[in-house]
Amino acid sequence: MLLDCSHGLDEWKSTTFFSEAGLLELQKKIKEAFEVFDHEANDTVDVREIGTIIRSLGCCPSEGELHDLIAEVEEEEPTGYIRLEKFLPMMVKVLSERRYRPIPEDLLLQAFEVLDSAKEGFLTKEELVKYMTEEGEPFTEEEMEEMLSAALDPETNTIQYRDYLAMMVIDEN
């Protein structure tokens, strides 16, 4: 993970972030993530990949917030492509201002507990699917399937969310 969640807002001034070398390294990292999707090596990426790029750099904007970010970097007349020269400064700002921080594990657990109205420690498959595909910023069928493939305990047809989260954390590291 690029950034550690626990620093308070005041602390960013004292981090290495704003040293010149630190800024340079940050720019390099953003460029590298951008280049993965820059198939023709001409400093542009398809606008549909921007969400993936921003999220892979450690930020967690919602779909709505993502739309706003894209609007900031799109051309006056949208071409379907985003240029690096617009993306880079925006992303540097977002990262150095620590916007769209990733969700800490405990908050995530709480979210599952909210959905678990019966307070049984698990969600049924139907419950999860209903919430994920009907509420909030709904999942596509593919997203739902993918989440279930890892989250669903096939024997009980339930999502044991504590175990699921624990596994996801290990996976990431």
């Binding site: 001409n42 969700i103 909210v114 994920m132 909030g136 910023e137 993918e146 493939s149 890892a150």
Partner: protein
């Protein structure tokens, strides 16, 4: 109490639920994005290395030219000229006789084919291949021979018409993946009079069943010669096969008659048409075009003279028309010059087989692959207009979704080998053309296993495979890498900055990859943003070599292994697998001088002697080369 209070509670509850849902969705999408980045990075690694390999080939082609020049300069006799530069004219009766002498023993329980082939024979063949049976060499040769006869009658570019009643399906690269071919047949039906197919090249190499794929395709060609069309791809090239696996597959499956099969195959390839033109408007070719692509020239040339992309025609200056003889004294078979394409014609074909579309305008050398061009939308526009075409359907590049559309809908890429780089790497696709309607695409991904694994597991698999081949590339340049790191560390502190490490690595490996983000996965120790390069790399494979070989030489031999294999094969006149010590030494000297390799002759001698196990003065070069290998240590990874 009262209704309003509980309604208020309900609203609060559902608001909370919505917030919770958004949180979870948000988190999941971020998780997914990070996996997607890793997957794409892995694919980039594969692609980069694949193209870098293709580039290496071009160096090999130059070496052959260099070799030939050397022989010519030394006025070597015809005997010493490697056979490859001096192909013997083939006699038809010879081939048929040789084949008819091959007996199929009673103990052979595989499919037995009767010629002329019928649909029933092909079904038999398919069923047998599904049972993993191997077709007997006799039948392989017969199929190849019959296929050659049919192909010889075809023009360079086949003109067909789409009709309202008959479907036309176009498939891209298959690369020996029999599963994908069967999946296409399952979804789309077997080829027949009413179900026409165009296969757009690259049937072989890389996959495990190139022979079976080829046999199925050629068999259908024999049964439905007017409804099945096979275009030549850049891998329908016997020298490419030596590098990319098909030759090895043949020698393993056909120990006794493999050489005969390779020999005939070499010729059959040259007779494959180079393109298909549908309704005079849709051109189907394997790679792409260049700004000077000329369909007239392509239709008129003698296509069977294009033997391999690694054997460009000799420089015309060799023949001196003023004096009516060759300015160097060429060995007698100066027939050589007359059996060639002109350089112009040769370039035309190479562009068709190797080029890639890009969004940048213009036409410029395809530096990734080392052959063909990159062509922009303006080139496409010009060529389409010039020849009255509507669009070009091509293959040659692996696409995550199996197909891609660019240049404003005028260039379509279709790629039919799913999981090309690794299980889970990409989908395959085919397209269907009906009369005057837009093409329809169909996608698939073979392998049950892909479905059962979670997203994370699938990405792990692709990523691990990518890092394995990256590791192979790094280990054979380890000495150069350490040298490069030292240059950035003039005070010999043992540390260099992350960005210097990235620069050095890119310089040495000649691969443009996101080295800064790959670094933590490749090196053992990073402290405060500095790489301790003496602490070594993580999980690199090891190089296995005979003890007597010196370190510098080992890396060179492993690095150039596939090139050397090709070169040795060429020198081996009688295809016995053996070359003499003298031949080895002479070739090695040439090789080192051309590739700028600095290795003491005594080392080579020592090594060659140690390999001469029979002590009879000849070297089994296959044994020699397999003694040098890159081996992965067993890891806990999937």
């Amino acid at each position: 109490m009262g209704c309003s209070h509980s309604v208020h509670n309900e609203t609060k509850k559902s608001e909370k639920a919505m917030k919770a849902a958004v949180l979870i969705q948000n988190w999941y999408r971020c998780y997914k994005a990070r996996l997607e980045l890793r997957r794409r990075q892995a694919l980039n690694i594969f692609e980069n290395i694949e193209y870098a390999d293709e580039q290496d080939q071009m160096q090999l082609a130059k070496f052959f030219a260099f070799m030939l020049e050397h022989y010519v300069k030394n006025k070597s006799s015809a005997d010493n000229l490697p056979k490859i530069f001096n192909p013997e004219p083939k006699r038809k009766s010879d081939e048929e006789t040789i084949i008819s002498l091959i007996e199929v023993p009673d103990t052979y329980y595989g499919p037995r084919l009767k010629f002329p082939l019928t649909f029933a024979d092909v079904v038999l063949l398919i069923d047998a291949f599904k049972e993993n049976q191997i077709l007997h060499a006799r039948y392989v040769l017969e199929v190849l021979l019959e296929a050659k006869k049919i192909l010889q009658q075809m023009p360079n570019i086949i003109h067909i018409s789409s009709t309202v009643s008959k479907e036309l399906t176009i498939c891209g690269d298959i690369h020996g993946k029999l599963d994908d071919l069967f999946l296409i047949f399952y979804k789309n039906g077997l080829p027949s009079g009413n179900n026409r197919y165009v296969f757009n090249g690259d049937f072989v190499d890389r996959g495990q069943n190139s022979m079976e794929v080829l046999m199925v395709l050629f068999s259908f060609l024999l049964v439905y010669p007017n409804d099945v069309y096979l275009n030549r791809g850049n891998h329908e090239d016997y020298l490419m096969n030596m590098r990319y696996g098909f030759t090895k597959e043949i020698m393993q499956k056909y120990k006794q008659h493999g050489a005969k099969i390779l020999h005939l195959l070499e010729e059959v390839y040259t007779w494959l048409p180079i393109g298909t033109l549908i309704d005079k408007k849709v051109l189907v070719i394997h790679g792409g075009i260049a700004d000077n692509t000329d369909l007239t020239v392509l239709e008129q040339m003698k296509r069977n003279r294009m033997r391999s992309v690694l054997m460009p025609p000799l420089v015309p200056a060799v023949f001196d028309p003023r004096h009516g003889h060759f300015s160097h004294e060429l060995p007698p078979p100066a027939m050589l010059a007359m059996e060639q394409l002109t350089k112009y014609e040769w370039d035309q074909i190479v562009n068709i087989l190797w080029s890639d579309p890009r969004s940048r305008k213009g036409c410029y050398p395809n530096t990734s692959r080392g052959g063909g061009c990159y062509f922009g939308p303006d080139v496409t526009e010009n060529i389409l207009t010039k020849f009255g075409l509507k669009m070009i359907i091509r293959s040659h590049e692996c696409k995550p979704e199996g197909f891609d559309i660019c240049h404003d809908g005028k260039i379509i890429t279709v790629f039919s080998a799913s999981n090309y780089y690794e299980e889970g790497s990409n989908r395959g696709a085919y397209l269907k053309l009906s009369h005057d309607t837009t093409p329809r695409f169909f996608q698939y991904q073979s392998s049950q296993i892909t479905q059962a694994k979670t997203l994370h597991e699938r990405v792990d698999i692709v990523e691990n495979a990518a890092f394995r081949i990256l590791g192979e590339r790094m280990i054979i340049r380890k000495t150069n890498l350490i040298q490069a790191f030292r240059k950035y560390d003039p005070n010999d502190t043992g540390k260099i900055s992350l960005s210097d490490w990235a620069k050095a690595t890119e310089e040495v490996l000649e691969l443009h990859l996101p080295w800064m983000s790959l670094c933590p996965r490749l090196v053992k120790t990073i402290e405060d943003g500095y790489v301790l390069y003496n602490m070594g790399f993580k999980d690199l494979p090891v190089v296995r070599a005979p003890k007597v070989a010196k370190a510098g030489m080992v890396e060179t031999l492993v690095r150039y292994r596939s090139d050397l294999k090709i070169i040795f094969n060429i020198i081996d006149k009688d295809q016995s697998g053996l070359i003499s010590m003298d031949e080895f030494r002479a070739m090695w000297k040439l090789f080192c001088s051309h590739y700028n390799i600095d290795i003491e002759e005594s080392h080579v001698d020592q090594l060659a002697h140690s390999m001469d196990l029979n002590k009879d003065g000849s070297i089994d070069f296959n044994e020699f080369l397999t003694a040098f290998d890159v081996v992965h240590r067993a890891t806990n990874k999937l």
